[in-house]
């Protein structure tokens, strides 16, 4: 009996010794001699899947391009996308899988504000960077956290730019129709901050659920309040419902402004010009293909050939995100660690993306590449640029 005990403890001690010696030689997590593993908790089948799928496709496209060109310091990029279906518990599940089983180096393009908020503590515990999520909520990069990076105007910057534009147009009565979620509230906060600068405030607010299919009462209530501008804290579908409901009810002396999720071909493409006149503010303005730089035109063609539709904002954001990761990996050198990678990201200056957006700059105390917004408006089934780039902090 005693002998067996002795044997067990010896084995245990041996195992311990082996594992700790293994740890001392461990490389950076997610980085092997041949590859760097990047994870994403996307939405491939839930309510935000139009964004999530486009993002997953575009990320893979850029990853394939980089790998075809020989990878980075001899390593290939490997992208693993999990489907979180725009549900917080599934996002956490996906993140756990990516962190514990796949041992990812960095997380990119996680879809949704509450999902990112739930996943970030897990990333932080494991010292994994949270990069360029598909949420433009401010908390994605501010207050500055060494692991969090976002490159374009967040919702507050976007709505701030649009509100600034409307205030310049002498509008004074602003209202809000928003999803009763962190996402919707963030947009309303952004509008309020900007209005405060002009001594104004939001005169009426009304909310709905992401799955609502009817906003008749909400529009009647806002109309009663005499709004001149309605700020939409919505995704695409509810923006269409709100806008077409208001216009069909004959409410024409009012402007509607949405943020980047309303800047989507599904919104501008409503038949019979149903969304004509709707404003959408975005941090990534899709130029006509002919006006894009060469790299953008190539991506446009490849994407369209592979997936049958033109790249959306989400696709471009994630494509740019992978590009930025590749640049930072390149800069960090062959012996990359998480710390040297983060330092390399912070050192990126005057980065011009493939699509001709405003240049991005990072530093140790700024993890947002650019806060410039573009104000666009639907006309004849497409978006036309009205103003921008506008930086509301100027």
């Amino acid at each position: 009996m005693k002998a067996r005990n002795l044997l067990t403890s010896t084995l245990a001690a041996l195992a311990l010794a082996l594992s700790s010696s293994g740890a001392s030689q461990a490389q950076t997590r997610g980085v092997t001699d041949t590859e760097v593993i990047i994870g994403s908790a996307g939405d491939l089948s839930g309510p935000a899947a139009n964004n999530g799928l486009a993002s997953a496709h575009a990320m893979q496209l850029r990853v394939d391009e980089i790998n075809a060109a020989g990878g980075i310091h001899g390593r290939k990029l490997r992208l693993i996308v999990e489907d979180a279906q725009y549900q917080v518990p599934r996002a956490v599940q996906a993140a756990n899988k990516l962190i514990n089983r796949d041992k990812i180096f960095a997380m990119i393009g996680t879809v949704g504000t509450p999902q990112n908020n739930a996943v970030f503590p897990l990333l932080e515990q494991n010292n994994i960077p949270s990069l360029f999520p598909l949420s433009q909520a401010r908390v994605m990069w501010s207050p500055v956290n060494k692991l969090k990076f976002q490159f374009n105007a967040d919702y507050r910057d976007q709505v701030g730019g649009a509100v600034k534009y409307m205030v310049d147009q002498k509008k004074t009565k602003f209202c809000a129709e928003y999803q009763d979620t962190d996402f919707g509230k963030d947009i309303v906060t952004g509008a309020e901050e900007e209005l405060k600068k002009a001594g104004l405030s939001i005169v009426a607010k009304s909310t709905h659920k992401p799955t609502d299919t009817d906003l008749g009462t909400q529009m009647i209530n806002l109309r009663k309040a005499g709004c001149e501008v309605v700020v939409l804290g919505t995704l695409g579908r509810d923006a269409i419902i709100a806008y077409t409901t208001a216009r069909r009810a004959g409410w024409t002396d009012v402007e509607f402004i949405g943020v980047s999720p309303t800047y989507d071909p599904a919104v501008s493409g409503v038949p019979d010009g149903g969304t004509d006149g709707l404003y959408a503010s975005t941090g990534v303005w899709i130029k006509p293909r002919e006006e894009m730089p060469e790299a953008g035109r190539q991506m446009f063609d490849k994407y369209k050939a592979a997936y049958g539709s033109e790249p959306t904002v989400s696709a471009m954001i994630s494509y740019i995100g992978i590009d930025l990761i590749a640049i930072a990996l390149e800069k960090a050198g062959k012996d990359v660690t998480t710390e040297s990678f983060l330092a390399a990201l912070e050192s990126i200056k005057d980065y011009n993306d493939a699509f001709g957006n405003p240049p991005q700059n990072y530093s140790a105390d700024n993890h947002q590449g650019s806060n410039a917004a573009f104000v666009t408006r639907v006309k004849g089934g497409a978006y036309e640029l009205i103003a921008g780039p506008i930086s509301h902090t100027d």
């Binding site: 309510p47 139009n50 009462t217 004959g250 019979d272």
Partner: protein, 290 residues
């Protein structure tokens, strides 16, 4: 006053859709004592099929409408014949789980086939409006109400005057007696499923210009369930009235009570009815004697 009338117009339109879905619930329940929790998903599939006919095959709205209803009726017939007939006689619980499961499959299947982008549904009257006494009535709303009335009249006449309709009533009242009288009960049940599927498709196509077509459409099924219970689960007129009531209550509570009450109004009403009048407004369901 104009405002209240406007709310009633909105309520009537959405209410008619709830009514049609509730009608699907009730038809199946009356005949087979199954509760089909996939009714909202059949509505979604109907809308997807119609939008495919219009956008991909370039058919006209009316042709697409008729074809989608036929496709969904055939699909639902098959669903009963192949899947649901096997659980007859099993505990209610397994039927509930089965139809909830089917709903999941339909939603996931729809995402796989049609993707996740919401489709705009082109209808000949999607952008028209008329103003009557200060109340703006969109032509889509009119089409929903007219469509509901026409469909209900056809169904009423079918059940009242056609031999098949009478056979369906017989089968739903007493399966065994009907069977002895030579009614092919199994086939009748499948036909009832076919009618429910067709009605769901009509509802889906009627509301699609308002909501766009994507997989969140199936959420309408839950509220319609409240409507069916409100009306008394076994009653066809009850389902119709229940649907319209839920539609109106939603709109009015959203406008006159605190923000957000619109979302809970349907379920709050359902709870109240279950407390005060458990058999529903038009309750025809007898209590089981133990």
């Amino acid at each position: 006053m104009t405002e209240l009338s406007q709310l009633i117009v909105y309520g009537l339109a959405t209410g008619c859709i709830y009514s049609l879905i509730a009608l699907g619930f009730v038809l199946i329940y009356k005949a087979t004592e199954m509760v089909n929790f996939a009714q909202g998903d059949l509505l979604m599939l109907g809308a997807f099929v119609a939008v495919t006919f219009i956008l991909t095959l370039g058919l006209s709205y009316w042709l697409a409408f008729i074809l989608a209803v036929i496709v969904m009726a055939a699909f639902s017939y098959g669903l009963d014949a192949v899947v649901l007939r096997r659980v007859i006689g099993q505990p209610q619980f397994s039927v509930v789980m089965l139809t909830i499961g089917l709903g999941f499959i339909f939603r996931a299947g729809a995402t796989m086939i049609w993707g996740t982008e919401p489709y705009n549904f082109p209808a000949p009257f999607s952008s028209g409006v008329s103003v009557v006494g200060g109340v703006v009535i969109s032509h889509v709303a009119i089409s929903i109400v007219v469509g509901t009335v026409v469909l209900c009249s056809i169904l009423w006449a079918f059940f009242r005057f056609s031999k098949l309709g009478v056979a369906m009533q017989a089968a739903s009242q007493n399966q065994l007696a009907a069977y002895y009288m030579g009614v092919p009960v199994k086939r009748i049940f499948s036909l009832i499923w076919a009618i429910s599927g067709g009605v769901a498709a009509v509802a889906g196509i009627l509301i699609a210009p308002l909501t766009l077509v994507d997989n969140t459409m199936s959420m309408l099924g839950l509220k319609a369930f409240a409507a069916a219970v409100l009306g008394g689960f076994g009653s066809i007129p009850g389902a119709l009235v229940g649907g319209i009531l839920i539609g109106m209550i939603e709109q009015v509570s959203g406008a006159y009570f605190i923000d957000g009450s619109k979302d809970i109004a349907a379920y709050a009403t359902l709870l109240l009815v279950l407390l005060l009048r458990p058999q529903g407004l038009f309750g025809a369901v007898g209590r089981k004697k133990v």
